[in-house]
Symmetry: C2
Subunit: 266 residues, 2 copies
């Protein structure tokens, strides 16, 4: 099943994809649908429905760094025994098709990622409980401002720029995709592929990450965990390459979908 | 002016302290009062009003590490050119008088801090604009799980345990206290003073932190910025000392108030 928040001429709606298009679900967006928690039946077909930011109001967006062996090597680090975690705010999120607007002069880099969407409340969960609580998977790009990320020991200020983390376009339920069997995570800039990694090489699986996080904090329906990026980021190139005004960033996970966002510097 | 969220026999209320007790303000808590943004007049005296967590639903809780010269020295670091920032979730917050509940076997440490409460939306603000947008100041203790904080390069997982960051008991408006002139930030454990630092020695002032954060993300009414902790944390002692079951942590800033929280390990 493929679910989304769609724009329509009458506002946004949660929706499920059907052969003929998008059918309405009983909520204004997926954040509200998942928070509500009730079972639902697909409603009427929605005219002129276009997926937008699937989860506009996650309470938590928790990110894992250093989770693919090749990216860990290019950053010059050893394989981790614990996941490296940091937090973003909902304000960082951006829909497919929207511009990544940032000031000129920053070292802006790409990080294609699989994002896990939480479907049920989790606290002190084991991996099986965590796996059963996954609502679905979507695509993200943890666009990073490297010079700010490296200003201090903590990455947050390079990761928390408003409206710079593309997410979506749809959420695919776990019966249709299995990251542990392997999903390709791809990033292209102006049509040139820079990243391609398989989620089967993740050091910490989606379920392992959710279980680990639930040791110290509650995860609620609609919360998002980003699972890390494979090798091929711009700062790992020699010399490093950063995003420029007008660059088109495509982030794709075949089986889920693709995001296209243009960099606009001012 | 001293404002708070108080519990009453009829639920919580935003309130302002008067000679005779607490007078009602037109909101169920300070988060709602500040978000509403309207001017208000104090209402009736509230019977049996007791301050509780002043801000139950901040959208953002952003923390600054390494901001007092003596604490920077005890952590073995150089004076910073940029503030070291990380994020917490609202779920970490805890009211005065509530127990700090954690599993046994962790390295639990104290970090008394001045907390700044945002009163007006800020984005791309300079220091004067940021200073004018401060709603007030309160007391916090950024209780930290040091072994988890040091598991990876990012501190988040040592800082984000639910219901472990005491905050309150009241918010004091900037006409009554001036951190740049100097407020004493004190932590006592079982009556023994371990931390005492003055906010006049902060490397980055409250206004400087708010302005800096507003470069990359919007701050909204009710958001909180923790300004860092002075020297004297447990992990800086030789040998390191951590909190044990039954320990009573008192966090005080004279002129604002004091928090008393007991550690309960299970």
């Amino acid at each position: 099943m493929r679910i989304a928040t769609v724009t329509t001429p009458h506002g946004t709606a949660a929706a499920v994809q059907a052969d003929a298009g998008w059918r309405a679900l009983p909520a204004p967006d997926l954040s509200a649908l998942l928070a509500d928690g009730d079972a639902w039946e697909p409603g009427d077909l929605l005219a002129d429905a276009v997926p937008t930011l699937p989860l506009p109001r996650p309470g938590k967006v928790i990110c894992c760094g250093l989770n693919y062996g090749d990216h860990i090597a290019e950053m010059g680090r050893d394989l981790p025994t614990h996941p490296t975690l940091f937090a973003k705010h909902a304000d960082t999120l951006l829909a497919d098709g929207q511009d990544i607007r940032l000031p000129a002069g920053l070292q802006i880099d790409w990080e294609a990622e699989l994002a896990v969407v939480v479907g049920r409340e989790l606290r002190h969960a084991d991996e099986d409980q965590a796996r059963a609580a996954i609502a679905g998977y979507t695509v993200a790009n943890d666009i990073s401002v490297r010079d700010w990320q490296r200003r201090t020991p903590q990455w947050f200020q390079g990761k928390a720029w408003d409206a710079t983390t593309p997410l979506g376009p749809v959420v695919v339920t776990p019966d249709e995709v299995d990251p542990e069997a392997g999903l390709e995570v791809i990033c292209r800039v102006n049509g040139v592929e820079h990243q391609r990694g398989s989620t089967k090489t993740l050091v910490f699986s989606s379920a392992a990450l959710l279980a680990y996080v639930s040791t110290f904090t509650v995860l609620r329906p609609g919360d998002i965990v980003l699972t890390g990026t494979p090798g091929g980021v711009g700062m790992g190139m020699e010399p490093p390459v950063y995003l420029a005004d007008g660059d088109v960033v495509e982030t794709e996970i075949p089986g889920i979908g693709a995001l296209t966002n243009t960099v606009r510097l001012a």
